[in-house]
Protein backbone atom coordinates (compact mmCIF):
# COMPACT_ATOMS: atom_id res chain seq x y z
CA UNK A 1 0.00 0.00 0.00
CA UNK A 2 1.32 3.35 -1.06
CA UNK A 3 1.77 5.88 1.73
CA UNK A 4 3.28 9.11 0.54
CA UNK A 5 3.79 9.96 -3.08
CA UNK A 6 5.57 13.17 -4.20
CA UNK A 7 2.82 13.91 -6.70
CA UNK A 8 0.17 13.85 -3.99
CA UNK A 9 2.38 16.01 -1.81
CA UNK A 10 2.33 18.62 -4.59
CA UNK A 11 -1.42 19.08 -4.20
CA UNK A 12 -1.31 18.91 -0.41
CA UNK A 13 1.53 21.42 -0.02
CA UNK A 14 -0.31 23.84 -2.27
CA UNK A 15 -3.61 23.41 -0.44
CA UNK A 16 -1.94 23.94 2.94
CA UNK A 17 -0.18 27.08 1.73
CA UNK A 18 -3.45 28.32 0.24
CA UNK A 19 -5.16 28.05 3.62
CA UNK A 20 -2.20 29.38 5.61
CA UNK A 21 -1.93 32.55 3.50
CA UNK A 22 -5.09 34.25 4.84
CA UNK A 23 -4.02 33.43 8.40
CA UNK A 24 -0.61 35.00 7.74
CA UNK A 25 -2.40 37.93 6.14
CA UNK A 26 -4.41 38.48 9.31
CA UNK A 27 -1.16 38.62 11.30
CA UNK A 28 0.25 41.36 9.02
CA UNK A 29 2.65 39.09 7.17
CA UNK A 30 4.29 41.05 4.34
CA UNK A 31 6.67 38.82 2.41
CA UNK A 32 4.14 36.88 0.38
CA UNK A 33 6.21 36.88 -2.78
CA UNK A 34 9.13 35.17 -1.07
CA UNK A 35 6.71 32.71 0.54
CA UNK A 36 5.24 31.99 -2.89
CA UNK A 37 8.67 31.46 -4.44
CA UNK A 38 9.56 29.07 -1.63
CA UNK A 39 6.36 27.06 -1.89
CA UNK A 40 6.44 26.84 -5.67
CA UNK A 41 10.12 25.91 -5.51
CA UNK A 42 9.28 23.00 -3.21
CA UNK A 43 6.46 22.02 -5.54
CA UNK A 44 8.75 22.22 -8.55
CA UNK A 45 11.27 19.97 -6.82
CA UNK A 46 8.49 17.51 -5.96
CA UNK A 47 7.35 17.43 -9.58
CA UNK A 48 10.90 16.67 -10.71
CA UNK A 49 11.01 13.81 -8.20
CA UNK A 50 7.64 12.65 -9.57
CA UNK A 51 8.82 12.54 -13.16
CA UNK A 52 12.03 10.73 -12.16
CA UNK A 53 10.02 8.23 -10.16
CA UNK A 54 7.67 7.63 -13.08
CA UNK A 55 10.66 7.10 -15.34
CA UNK A 56 12.11 4.47 -13.07
CA UNK A 57 9.00 2.76 -11.65
CA UNK A 58 6.47 3.15 -14.45
CA UNK A 59 2.80 4.04 -14.03
CA UNK A 60 1.59 4.25 -10.42
CA UNK A 61 -1.86 4.65 -8.92
CA UNK A 62 -2.72 6.34 -5.65
CA UNK A 63 -5.99 5.54 -3.90
CA UNK A 64 -7.28 8.16 -1.49
CA UNK A 65 -8.45 6.77 1.80
CA UNK A 66 -7.39 3.29 0.70
CA UNK A 67 -10.62 2.72 -1.23
CA UNK A 68 -10.59 0.52 -4.31
CA UNK A 69 -10.72 2.35 -7.65
CA UNK A 70 -14.36 1.47 -8.35
CA UNK A 71 -15.43 3.27 -5.17
CA UNK A 72 -12.84 5.89 -4.28
CA UNK A 73 -10.83 8.66 -5.84
CA UNK A 74 -7.75 7.60 -7.73
CA UNK A 75 -4.74 9.62 -8.84
CA UNK A 76 -2.67 8.32 -11.72
CA UNK A 77 1.02 9.02 -12.22
CA UNK A 78 1.77 8.20 -15.81
CA UNK A 79 4.19 9.83 -18.21
CA UNK A 80 1.68 12.36 -19.57
CA UNK A 81 0.63 13.40 -16.08
CA UNK A 82 4.19 13.72 -14.79
CA UNK A 83 5.27 15.78 -17.78
CA UNK A 84 2.32 18.16 -17.52
CA UNK A 85 2.72 18.45 -13.75
CA UNK A 86 6.32 19.47 -14.32
CA UNK A 87 5.20 22.04 -16.90
CA UNK A 88 2.57 23.56 -14.60
CA UNK A 89 4.77 23.78 -11.53
CA UNK A 90 7.74 25.02 -13.53
CA UNK A 91 5.68 27.79 -15.12
CA UNK A 92 4.23 28.85 -11.78
CA UNK A 93 7.74 28.91 -10.30
CA UNK A 94 9.00 31.12 -13.13
CA UNK A 95 6.04 33.47 -12.88
CA UNK A 96 6.43 33.83 -9.10
CA UNK A 97 10.12 34.71 -9.45
CA UNK A 98 9.16 37.31 -12.05
CA UNK A 99 6.56 38.76 -9.69
CA UNK A 100 8.81 41.52 -8.30
CA UNK A 101 8.16 44.84 -6.66
CA UNK A 102 7.22 46.89 -9.71
CA UNK A 103 5.09 44.09 -11.15
CA UNK A 104 3.34 43.50 -7.84
CA UNK A 105 2.29 47.14 -7.71
CA UNK A 106 -0.51 46.37 -10.17
CA UNK A 107 -2.38 44.64 -7.36
CA UNK A 108 -3.41 46.77 -4.44
CA UNK A 109 -1.64 46.08 -1.17
CA UNK A 110 -4.43 44.77 1.00
CA UNK A 111 -5.35 42.14 -1.58
CA UNK A 112 -1.95 40.49 -1.94
CA UNK A 113 -2.53 37.85 0.73
CA UNK A 114 -5.75 36.86 -0.98
CA UNK A 115 -4.06 36.95 -4.34
CA UNK A 116 -1.61 34.29 -3.27
CA UNK A 117 -4.37 32.24 -1.67
CA UNK A 118 -6.10 32.22 -5.03
CA UNK A 119 -2.93 31.47 -6.96
CA UNK A 120 -2.03 28.53 -4.71
CA UNK A 121 -5.58 27.26 -4.95
CA UNK A 122 -5.46 27.55 -8.74
CA UNK A 123 -2.16 25.71 -8.91
CA UNK A 124 -3.46 22.99 -6.58
CA UNK A 125 -6.59 22.51 -8.66
CA UNK A 126 -4.66 22.44 -11.94
CA UNK A 127 -2.22 19.88 -10.55
CA UNK A 128 -5.13 17.80 -9.29
CA UNK A 129 -6.89 18.18 -12.63
CA UNK A 130 -3.87 16.76 -14.41
CA UNK A 131 -3.31 13.93 -11.95
CA UNK A 132 -6.82 12.74 -11.23
CA UNK A 133 -8.22 9.58 -12.75
CA UNK A 134 -11.75 10.10 -11.44
CA UNK A 135 -14.41 11.89 -13.44
CA UNK A 136 -16.25 13.58 -10.58
CA UNK A 137 -13.02 14.62 -8.91
CA UNK A 138 -12.09 16.14 -12.26
CA UNK A 139 -15.32 18.16 -12.23
CA UNK A 140 -14.59 19.49 -8.74
CA UNK A 141 -11.09 20.56 -9.75
CA UNK A 142 -12.47 22.17 -12.92
CA UNK A 143 -14.88 24.23 -10.83
CA UNK A 144 -12.22 25.30 -8.32
CA UNK A 145 -9.88 26.35 -11.09
CA UNK A 146 -12.67 28.21 -12.90
CA UNK A 147 -13.67 30.18 -9.79
CA UNK A 148 -10.09 31.03 -8.86
CA UNK A 149 -9.34 32.09 -12.43
CA UNK A 150 -12.30 34.47 -12.38
CA UNK A 151 -11.07 35.86 -9.08
CA UNK A 152 -7.57 36.34 -10.50
CA UNK A 153 -9.03 38.27 -13.45
CA UNK A 154 -11.15 40.52 -11.28
CA UNK A 155 -8.61 41.15 -8.52
CA UNK A 156 -8.14 44.67 -9.85
CA UNK A 157 -11.64 46.01 -9.83
CA UNK A 158 -12.41 48.26 -12.79
CA UNK A 159 -14.89 48.48 -15.64
CA UNK A 160 -13.04 46.11 -17.94
CA UNK A 161 -12.26 43.43 -15.39
CA UNK A 162 -15.77 43.16 -13.96
CA UNK A 163 -17.16 42.82 -17.47
CA UNK A 164 -14.56 40.25 -18.50
CA UNK A 165 -15.02 38.24 -15.33
CA UNK A 166 -18.82 38.12 -15.45
CA UNK A 167 -18.59 37.00 -19.09
CA UNK A 168 -16.05 34.32 -18.25
CA UNK A 169 -17.97 33.23 -15.17
CA UNK A 170 -21.22 32.61 -17.04
CA UNK A 171 -19.62 30.83 -19.97
CA UNK A 172 -17.43 28.70 -17.75
CA UNK A 173 -20.38 27.80 -15.53
CA UNK A 174 -22.31 26.58 -18.57
CA UNK A 175 -19.25 24.58 -19.57
CA UNK A 176 -18.96 23.01 -16.12
CA UNK A 177 -22.66 22.17 -16.11
CA UNK A 178 -22.38 20.33 -19.38
CA UNK A 179 -19.31 18.46 -18.15
CA UNK A 180 -21.28 17.41 -15.07
CA UNK A 181 -24.21 16.31 -17.21
CA UNK A 182 -21.90 14.23 -19.33
CA UNK A 183 -20.42 12.64 -16.20
CA UNK A 184 -23.98 11.79 -15.12
CA UNK A 185 -24.64 10.07 -18.43
CA UNK A 186 -21.38 8.12 -18.23
CA UNK A 187 -22.24 7.04 -14.68
CA UNK A 188 -25.72 6.04 -15.81
CA UNK A 189 -24.28 3.91 -18.59
CA UNK A 190 -21.31 2.32 -16.89
CA UNK A 191 -21.77 2.64 -13.14
CA UNK A 192 -18.17 3.82 -12.73
CA UNK A 193 -16.56 7.19 -12.21
CA UNK A 194 -13.03 5.92 -12.64
CA UNK A 195 -11.76 6.87 -16.07
CA UNK A 196 -10.10 3.55 -16.89
CA UNK A 197 -13.00 1.40 -15.72
CA UNK A 198 -15.65 3.60 -17.35
CA UNK A 199 -13.67 3.67 -20.58
CA UNK A 200 -13.45 -0.11 -20.67
CA UNK A 201 -17.17 -0.47 -20.04
CA UNK A 202 -18.02 2.11 -22.68
CA UNK A 203 -16.19 0.21 -25.41
CA UNK A 204 -18.88 -2.47 -25.14
CA UNK A 205 -21.79 -0.26 -24.17
CA UNK A 206 -21.35 2.50 -26.75
CA UNK A 207 -22.71 0.24 -29.48
CA UNK A 208 -25.70 -0.78 -27.36
CA UNK A 209 -26.66 2.74 -26.28
CA UNK A 210 -25.54 4.98 -29.13
CA UNK A 211 -27.81 7.91 -28.23
CA UNK A 212 -26.82 8.18 -24.58
CA UNK A 213 -23.12 7.68 -25.16
CA UNK A 214 -22.92 10.18 -27.99
CA UNK A 215 -24.88 12.69 -25.86
CA UNK A 216 -22.29 12.19 -23.13
CA UNK A 217 -19.53 12.81 -25.62
CA UNK A 218 -21.20 15.90 -27.05
CA UNK A 219 -21.73 17.53 -23.66
CA UNK A 220 -18.19 16.70 -22.56
CA UNK A 221 -16.80 18.11 -25.79
CA UNK A 222 -18.83 21.30 -25.46
CA UNK A 223 -17.77 21.84 -21.86
CA UNK A 224 -14.08 21.20 -22.33
CA UNK A 225 -13.92 23.12 -25.62
CA UNK A 226 -15.55 26.08 -23.85
CA UNK A 227 -12.96 25.88 -21.09
CA UNK A 228 -9.99 25.60 -23.40
CA UNK A 229 -11.35 28.24 -25.83
CA UNK A 230 -11.67 26.34 -29.09
CA UNK A 231 -12.67 28.76 -31.82
CA UNK A 232 -16.40 29.52 -31.74
CA UNK A 233 -16.34 29.21 -27.95
CA UNK A 234 -13.34 31.50 -27.43
CA UNK A 235 -15.36 34.70 -26.91
CA UNK A 236 -14.44 35.05 -23.24
CA UNK A 237 -10.71 34.84 -23.90
CA UNK A 238 -9.68 38.21 -25.42
CA UNK A 239 -11.52 40.27 -22.79
CA UNK A 240 -10.14 38.17 -19.97
CA UNK A 241 -6.54 38.23 -21.17
CA UNK A 242 -6.70 41.92 -21.98
CA UNK A 243 -8.08 43.22 -18.73
CA UNK A 244 -6.37 40.99 -16.17
CA UNK A 245 -3.14 42.08 -14.44
CA UNK A 246 0.09 40.90 -16.08
CA UNK A 247 0.75 38.03 -13.70
CA UNK A 248 -2.78 36.70 -14.03
CA UNK A 249 -2.63 36.92 -17.80
CA UNK A 250 0.67 35.05 -17.89
CA UNK A 251 -0.77 32.34 -15.63
CA UNK A 252 -3.98 32.06 -17.65
CA UNK A 253 -2.40 32.12 -21.08
CA UNK A 254 0.49 29.85 -20.24
CA UNK A 255 -1.00 27.34 -17.86
CA UNK A 256 -4.75 27.27 -17.23
CA UNK A 257 -5.93 26.56 -20.76
CA UNK A 258 -3.27 23.88 -21.13
CA UNK A 259 -4.50 21.90 -18.13
CA UNK A 260 -7.98 21.73 -19.66
CA UNK A 261 -6.48 20.47 -22.91
CA UNK A 262 -4.68 17.74 -20.97
CA UNK A 263 -8.03 16.78 -19.48
CA UNK A 264 -9.46 16.78 -22.99
CA UNK A 265 -6.76 14.34 -24.11
CA UNK A 266 -7.31 12.11 -21.08
CA UNK A 267 -11.09 11.99 -21.41
CA UNK A 268 -11.29 11.59 -25.15
CA UNK A 269 -8.48 9.07 -25.49
CA UNK A 270 -9.30 7.00 -22.41
CA UNK A 271 -13.01 7.25 -21.64
CA UNK A 272 -14.93 8.26 -24.74
CA UNK A 273 -12.40 7.17 -27.35
CA UNK A 274 -14.69 4.78 -29.17
CA UNK A 275 -17.39 7.41 -29.52
CA UNK A 276 -15.02 10.16 -30.44
CA UNK A 277 -13.05 8.36 -33.10
CA UNK A 278 -15.19 5.57 -34.45
CA UNK A 279 -18.91 5.84 -33.81
CA UNK A 280 -19.43 9.51 -34.54
CA UNK A 281 -17.87 12.11 -36.78
CA UNK A 282 -16.86 14.40 -33.96
CA UNK A 283 -13.12 13.89 -34.43
CA UNK A 284 -13.44 15.10 -38.02
CA UNK A 285 -15.60 18.02 -36.92
CA UNK A 286 -12.98 18.94 -34.32
CA UNK A 287 -10.34 18.93 -37.03
CA UNK A 288 -12.47 21.33 -39.09
CA UNK A 289 -13.12 23.57 -36.06
CA UNK A 290 -9.41 23.62 -35.32
CA UNK A 291 -8.66 24.59 -38.91
CA UNK A 292 -11.15 27.47 -38.67
CA UNK A 293 -9.63 28.48 -35.33
CA UNK A 294 -6.13 28.60 -36.80
CA UNK A 295 -7.16 30.86 -39.69
CA UNK A 296 -9.64 33.11 -37.89
CA UNK A 297 -7.57 33.53 -34.77
CA UNK A 298 -4.73 34.84 -36.90
CA UNK A 299 -7.05 37.05 -38.95
CA UNK A 300 -8.60 38.61 -35.85
CA UNK A 301 -5.15 39.16 -34.39
CA UNK A 302 -4.14 41.22 -37.41
CA UNK A 303 -6.99 43.64 -36.81
CA UNK A 304 -6.15 44.42 -33.18
CA UNK A 305 -4.63 47.68 -31.97
CA UNK A 306 -3.87 46.67 -28.35
CA UNK A 307 -0.92 44.37 -27.92
CA UNK A 308 -2.45 42.19 -25.21
CA UNK A 309 -5.58 41.62 -27.30
CA UNK A 310 -3.42 40.70 -30.27
CA UNK A 311 -1.57 38.10 -28.17
CA UNK A 312 -4.91 36.78 -26.93
CA UNK A 313 -6.19 36.18 -30.47
CA UNK A 314 -2.87 34.61 -31.32
CA UNK A 315 -3.56 32.19 -28.46
CA UNK A 316 -6.88 31.28 -30.08
CA UNK A 317 -5.01 30.28 -33.22
CA UNK A 318 -2.41 28.30 -31.29
CA UNK A 319 -5.11 26.42 -29.37
CA UNK A 320 -6.42 25.51 -32.81
CA UNK A 321 -3.05 23.94 -33.64
CA UNK A 322 -3.13 21.88 -30.45
CA UNK A 323 -6.66 20.64 -31.11
CA UNK A 324 -5.76 19.86 -34.72
CA UNK A 325 -2.92 17.66 -33.54
CA UNK A 326 -5.07 15.94 -30.93
CA UNK A 327 -8.06 15.25 -33.15
CA UNK A 328 -6.01 13.93 -36.07
CA UNK A 329 -5.15 11.00 -33.76
CA UNK A 330 -2.19 9.96 -35.82
CA UNK A 331 1.12 9.34 -34.12
CA UNK A 332 2.84 12.50 -35.36
CA UNK A 333 -0.28 14.58 -34.95
CA UNK A 334 -0.74 13.73 -31.28
CA UNK A 335 2.99 14.06 -30.63
CA UNK A 336 2.94 17.51 -32.21
CA UNK A 337 -0.17 18.46 -30.25
CA UNK A 338 1.36 17.53 -26.90
CA UNK A 339 4.67 19.15 -27.82
CA UNK A 340 2.80 22.28 -28.86
CA UNK A 341 1.09 22.40 -25.44
CA UNK A 342 4.54 22.69 -23.87
CA UNK A 343 5.98 25.01 -26.51
CA UNK A 344 3.00 27.32 -26.58
CA UNK A 345 3.00 27.50 -22.81
CA UNK A 346 6.67 28.56 -22.77
CA UNK A 347 6.41 30.98 -25.70
CA UNK A 348 3.16 32.64 -24.60
CA UNK A 349 4.40 33.06 -21.05
CA UNK A 350 7.58 34.71 -22.31
CA UNK A 351 5.58 36.96 -24.65
CA UNK A 352 3.25 38.12 -21.91
CA UNK A 353 6.09 38.58 -19.42
CA UNK A 354 8.13 40.75 -21.79
CA UNK A 355 5.08 42.72 -22.86
CA UNK A 356 4.20 43.05 -19.19
CA UNK A 357 7.61 44.56 -18.45
CA UNK A 358 7.17 47.11 -21.22
CA UNK A 359 3.57 47.94 -20.28
CA UNK A 360 4.46 48.40 -16.63
CA UNK A 361 7.61 50.45 -17.23
CA UNK A 362 6.34 52.62 -20.08
CA UNK A 363 2.55 52.32 -20.11
CA UNK A 364 2.60 51.42 -23.81
CA UNK A 365 -0.58 49.43 -24.42
CA UNK A 366 -1.09 49.99 -28.13
CA UNK A 367 0.89 48.26 -30.83
CA UNK A 368 1.76 51.67 -32.27
CA UNK A 369 3.54 52.61 -29.03
CA UNK A 370 6.09 49.90 -29.67
CA UNK A 371 7.79 51.97 -32.37
CA UNK A 372 11.34 52.53 -31.26
CA UNK A 373 10.93 50.40 -28.17
CA UNK A 374 13.62 48.07 -29.45
CA UNK A 375 16.24 50.81 -29.24
CA UNK A 376 15.08 51.94 -25.84
CA UNK A 377 14.66 48.46 -24.34
CA UNK A 378 16.91 46.28 -26.49
CA UNK A 379 17.14 43.38 -24.05
CA UNK A 380 13.41 43.01 -23.53
CA UNK A 381 12.61 43.46 -27.19
CA UNK A 382 15.21 40.91 -28.27
CA UNK A 383 13.51 38.37 -26.02
CA UNK A 384 10.11 39.47 -27.37
CA UNK A 385 11.38 39.02 -30.93
CA UNK A 386 12.80 35.61 -30.12
CA UNK A 387 9.46 34.39 -28.75
CA UNK A 388 7.50 36.03 -31.56
CA UNK A 389 9.71 34.30 -34.14
CA UNK A 390 9.22 31.02 -32.27
CA UNK A 391 5.47 31.60 -32.45
CA UNK A 392 5.65 32.23 -36.19
CA UNK A 393 7.66 29.03 -36.56
CA UNK A 394 11.13 30.03 -37.71
CA UNK A 395 13.28 26.86 -37.96
CA UNK A 396 15.79 26.71 -35.12
CA UNK A 397 13.16 27.61 -32.51
CA UNK A 398 10.75 25.32 -30.69
CA UNK A 399 7.55 26.58 -32.35
CA UNK A 400 8.82 25.26 -35.63
CA UNK A 401 9.34 21.76 -34.26
CA UNK A 402 5.79 21.32 -33.03
CA UNK A 403 4.23 22.88 -36.13
CA UNK A 404 6.40 20.62 -38.28
CA UNK A 405 5.31 17.54 -36.34
CA UNK A 406 1.64 18.51 -36.60
CA UNK A 407 2.14 19.07 -40.32
CA UNK A 408 3.58 15.57 -40.61
CA UNK A 409 0.46 14.39 -38.79
CA UNK A 410 -1.82 15.99 -41.38
CA UNK A 411 0.02 14.10 -44.10
CA UNK A 412 -0.23 10.85 -42.14
CA UNK A 413 -3.98 11.40 -41.80
CA UNK A 414 -4.13 12.20 -45.54
CA UNK A 415 -5.56 15.66 -45.02
CA UNK A 416 -3.18 17.85 -47.03
CA UNK A 417 -5.64 20.77 -46.89
CA UNK A 418 -4.63 21.32 -43.27
CA UNK A 419 -0.99 21.45 -44.27
CA UNK A 420 -1.92 24.41 -46.46
CA UNK A 421 -3.81 25.95 -43.52
CA UNK A 422 -0.76 25.58 -41.25
CA UNK A 423 1.53 27.25 -43.80
CA UNK A 424 -1.00 30.00 -44.48
CA UNK A 425 -1.43 30.65 -40.78
CA UNK A 426 2.32 30.85 -40.27
CA UNK A 427 2.39 33.54 -42.94
CA UNK A 428 -0.47 35.35 -41.17
CA UNK A 429 1.45 35.08 -37.89
CA UNK A 430 4.34 36.73 -39.65
CA UNK A 431 2.02 39.51 -40.83
CA UNK A 432 1.22 40.60 -37.30
CA UNK A 433 4.40 39.75 -35.41
CA UNK A 434 7.10 40.91 -37.83
CA UNK A 435 5.94 44.56 -38.20
CA UNK A 436 6.09 44.98 -34.42
CA UNK A 437 9.66 43.69 -34.34
CA UNK A 438 10.76 45.75 -37.35
CA UNK A 439 9.03 48.90 -36.11
CA UNK A 440 10.47 48.53 -32.64
CA UNK A 441 14.06 48.34 -33.86
CA UNK A 442 14.01 50.54 -36.96
CA UNK A 443 10.86 52.65 -36.84
CA UNK A 444 9.62 55.58 -34.81
CA UNK A 445 11.45 58.62 -33.46
CA UNK A 446 15.16 58.74 -34.10
CA UNK A 447 15.78 60.85 -31.03
CA UNK A 448 15.12 58.13 -28.50
CA UNK A 449 18.21 57.69 -26.38
CA UNK A 450 19.95 54.37 -26.03
CA UNK A 451 18.85 53.17 -22.65
CA UNK A 452 20.07 49.77 -21.50
CA UNK A 453 17.51 48.74 -18.94
CA UNK A 454 19.29 45.76 -17.37
CA UNK A 455 19.89 47.54 -14.09
CA UNK A 456 16.37 48.88 -13.86
CA UNK A 457 14.82 45.47 -14.22
CA UNK A 458 16.91 43.67 -11.66
CA UNK A 459 18.17 40.12 -11.62
CA UNK A 460 14.93 38.53 -10.45
CA UNK A 461 12.96 39.72 -13.47
CA UNK A 462 15.73 38.94 -15.93
CA UNK A 463 16.31 35.40 -14.68
CA UNK A 464 12.86 34.00 -15.61
CA UNK A 465 12.94 35.72 -18.99
CA UNK A 466 16.36 34.28 -19.80
CA UNK A 467 15.31 30.82 -18.58
CA UNK A 468 12.26 30.76 -20.85
CA UNK A 469 14.26 32.04 -23.81
CA UNK A 470 16.88 29.35 -23.19
CA UNK A 471 14.11 26.73 -23.13
CA UNK A 472 12.80 28.00 -26.46
CA UNK A 473 16.26 27.59 -27.99
CA UNK A 474 16.99 24.26 -26.28
CA UNK A 475 13.78 22.57 -27.34
CA UNK A 476 14.21 24.03 -30.81
CA UNK A 477 17.78 22.84 -31.28
CA UNK A 478 17.58 19.51 -29.45
CA UNK A 479 13.99 18.37 -30.06
CA UNK A 480 14.74 14.67 -30.02
CA UNK A 481 14.65 14.20 -26.24
CA UNK A 482 11.19 15.70 -25.64
CA UNK A 483 9.83 14.13 -28.81
CA UNK A 484 11.07 10.69 -27.78
CA UNK A 485 9.50 11.13 -24.37
CA UNK A 486 6.19 12.27 -25.85
CA UNK A 487 6.32 9.39 -28.34
CA UNK A 488 6.14 6.99 -25.43
CA UNK A 489 3.06 8.82 -24.10
CA UNK A 490 1.47 8.74 -27.53
CA UNK A 491 2.19 5.06 -27.90
CA UNK A 492 0.42 4.27 -24.63
CA UNK A 493 -2.53 6.55 -25.51
CA UNK A 494 -3.14 5.29 -29.04
CA UNK A 495 -2.67 1.57 -28.43
Amino acid sequence: MLGVHPGVLVVLVLLISAFISPVLDQFKFKRFSIFAIGVSGIVFALSIITILRVNSLGVEYYHFGGWTPDKGIEFIFGELEALMLLLVSGMFFVVYIYNQKKIRAEISKHLRGWYFTLAFMLQASLSGLILTNDLFNMFVFIEISALTTVALISINENRDTVFASIKYLFLTAVGSSSVLFSIGLIYLLTGYLNMDLAGMELIELAGMYPAASSMAMLFMFFGLAMKSALFPLHIWLPDAYYSAPTISTAIMAGIVGKAYIVVFIKVFYKVLSINFFEQTNLANITVIMAGIAIIFGSLFAIGQTKIKRMLAYSSVAQIGYIFLGIALATESGLTGGILHIINHSIIKTLLFLTVGVIIIYTGAENIIDFQGAGRKYPFTMILFSLSALAMVGIPPLNGFMSKWTIAMGTLEAEKPLYLVIIILSSLLNGVYYLPIIIQSFFGGDEELGYNWEFKRLGFKIILPLITLAALILLIGIFPSYPINYINRIVFSLIS
Partner: protein, 123 residues
Protein backbone atom coordinates in the same frame (compact mmCIF):
# COMPACT_ATOMS: atom_id res chain seq x y z
CA UNK B 1 -53.87 4.91 -4.37
CA UNK B 2 -54.47 5.40 -8.04
CA UNK B 3 -52.14 3.50 -10.26
CA UNK B 4 -51.09 5.54 -13.24
CA UNK B 5 -48.98 4.07 -15.97
CA UNK B 6 -46.09 6.38 -16.68
CA UNK B 7 -42.79 5.35 -18.06
CA UNK B 8 -40.14 5.29 -15.30
CA UNK B 9 -37.86 7.37 -17.51
CA UNK B 10 -40.01 10.38 -16.59
CA UNK B 11 -37.30 11.44 -14.11
CA UNK B 12 -34.70 11.70 -16.86
CA UNK B 13 -37.20 13.36 -19.16
CA UNK B 14 -38.15 15.91 -16.50
CA UNK B 15 -34.53 16.68 -15.72
CA UNK B 16 -33.82 17.34 -19.40
CA UNK B 17 -36.88 19.60 -19.63
CA UNK B 18 -35.78 21.56 -16.55
CA UNK B 19 -32.23 21.78 -17.92
CA UNK B 20 -33.52 23.20 -21.18
CA UNK B 21 -35.79 25.73 -19.44
CA UNK B 22 -32.83 26.83 -17.34
CA UNK B 23 -30.70 27.16 -20.45
CA UNK B 24 -33.52 29.14 -22.08
CA UNK B 25 -33.61 31.55 -19.13
CA UNK B 26 -29.83 31.88 -19.27
CA UNK B 27 -29.80 32.61 -22.98
CA UNK B 28 -32.81 34.84 -23.51
CA UNK B 29 -32.96 37.11 -20.47
CA UNK B 30 -30.64 40.08 -20.64
CA UNK B 31 -30.83 40.63 -16.89
CA UNK B 32 -27.81 39.21 -15.10
CA UNK B 33 -29.70 38.13 -11.96
CA UNK B 34 -32.19 36.27 -14.14
CA UNK B 35 -29.22 34.61 -15.80
CA UNK B 36 -27.94 33.49 -12.39
CA UNK B 37 -31.34 31.97 -11.64
CA UNK B 38 -31.26 30.20 -14.99
CA UNK B 39 -27.84 28.81 -14.20
CA UNK B 40 -29.11 27.50 -10.87
CA UNK B 41 -32.11 25.87 -12.53
CA UNK B 42 -29.74 24.14 -14.95
CA UNK B 43 -27.54 22.94 -12.13
CA UNK B 44 -30.38 21.59 -10.02
CA UNK B 45 -31.78 19.82 -13.09
CA UNK B 46 -28.45 18.02 -13.38
CA UNK B 47 -28.54 17.15 -9.67
CA UNK B 48 -32.04 15.79 -10.22
CA UNK B 49 -30.64 13.68 -13.05
CA UNK B 50 -27.98 12.26 -10.77
CA UNK B 51 -30.48 11.50 -8.00
CA UNK B 52 -32.65 9.77 -10.60
CA UNK B 53 -29.65 7.68 -11.68
CA UNK B 54 -29.32 6.38 -8.15
CA UNK B 55 -33.05 5.93 -7.56
CA UNK B 56 -34.45 2.43 -7.13
CA UNK B 57 -38.24 2.48 -7.14
CA UNK B 58 -38.80 0.21 -4.13
CA UNK B 59 -35.60 1.02 -2.29
CA UNK B 60 -35.39 2.64 1.11
CA UNK B 61 -33.13 5.44 2.27
CA UNK B 62 -29.47 4.47 2.34
CA UNK B 63 -29.33 4.49 6.14
CA UNK B 64 -28.07 1.11 7.20
CA UNK B 65 -29.37 -0.26 10.48
CA UNK B 66 -27.27 -2.94 12.11
CA UNK B 67 -28.08 -6.32 10.62
CA UNK B 68 -30.71 -5.22 8.11
CA UNK B 69 -30.31 -6.09 4.46
CA UNK B 70 -33.12 -4.06 2.95
CA UNK B 71 -32.95 -2.76 -0.61
CA UNK B 72 -31.69 0.84 -0.66
CA UNK B 73 -31.16 3.41 -3.36
CA UNK B 74 -27.61 3.96 -4.60
CA UNK B 75 -26.03 6.46 -2.22
CA UNK B 76 -23.08 7.36 -4.46
CA UNK B 77 -24.84 9.83 -6.81
CA UNK B 78 -26.51 11.64 -3.93
CA UNK B 79 -23.19 11.82 -2.11
CA UNK B 80 -21.66 13.39 -5.20
CA UNK B 81 -24.48 15.87 -5.49
CA UNK B 82 -23.74 17.29 -2.03
CA UNK B 83 -20.49 18.55 -3.52
CA UNK B 84 -22.33 19.65 -6.63
CA UNK B 85 -24.81 21.77 -4.66
CA UNK B 86 -22.03 23.42 -2.69
CA UNK B 87 -20.12 24.20 -5.88
CA UNK B 88 -23.24 25.66 -7.49
CA UNK B 89 -23.93 27.85 -4.45
CA UNK B 90 -20.37 29.17 -4.46
CA UNK B 91 -20.62 29.98 -8.17
CA UNK B 92 -23.89 31.79 -7.45
CA UNK B 93 -22.41 33.79 -4.58
CA UNK B 94 -19.40 34.76 -6.64
CA UNK B 95 -21.52 35.71 -9.65
CA UNK B 96 -23.75 37.89 -7.45
CA UNK B 97 -20.73 39.62 -5.93
CA UNK B 98 -19.45 40.46 -9.39
CA UNK B 99 -22.93 41.54 -10.51
CA UNK B 100 -23.02 44.08 -7.68
CA UNK B 101 -19.65 45.39 -8.90
CA UNK B 102 -20.99 45.53 -12.47
CA UNK B 103 -23.90 47.62 -11.21
CA UNK B 104 -21.52 49.97 -9.44
CA UNK B 105 -19.42 50.48 -12.56
CA UNK B 106 -22.05 50.52 -15.30
CA UNK B 107 -25.21 51.60 -13.46
CA UNK B 108 -27.19 48.70 -14.88
CA UNK B 109 -27.27 44.93 -14.81
CA UNK B 110 -28.84 44.53 -18.22
CA UNK B 111 -26.37 42.97 -20.62
CA UNK B 112 -27.64 44.87 -23.65
CA UNK B 113 -27.32 48.20 -21.85
CA UNK B 114 -23.83 47.26 -20.65
CA UNK B 115 -22.80 46.69 -24.26
CA UNK B 116 -24.28 50.10 -25.16
CA UNK B 117 -22.31 51.77 -22.35
CA UNK B 118 -19.11 50.04 -23.43
CA UNK B 119 -19.49 50.94 -27.10
CA UNK B 120 -20.22 54.59 -26.21
CA UNK B 121 -17.00 54.74 -24.26
CA UNK B 122 -14.98 53.19 -27.08
CA UNK B 123 -16.13 55.82 -29.58
Amino acid sequence: MIDIVVHPNIYYFASIVLFLIGFYILLTHPNLIKKVIGLNVMDSAIFFFFVAVGFVSDGGSPIVEAGSEALTVNPVPSGLMLTGIVVSVSVTAFALAIIIKVYQHYGTINVEEIYVVRSEREC
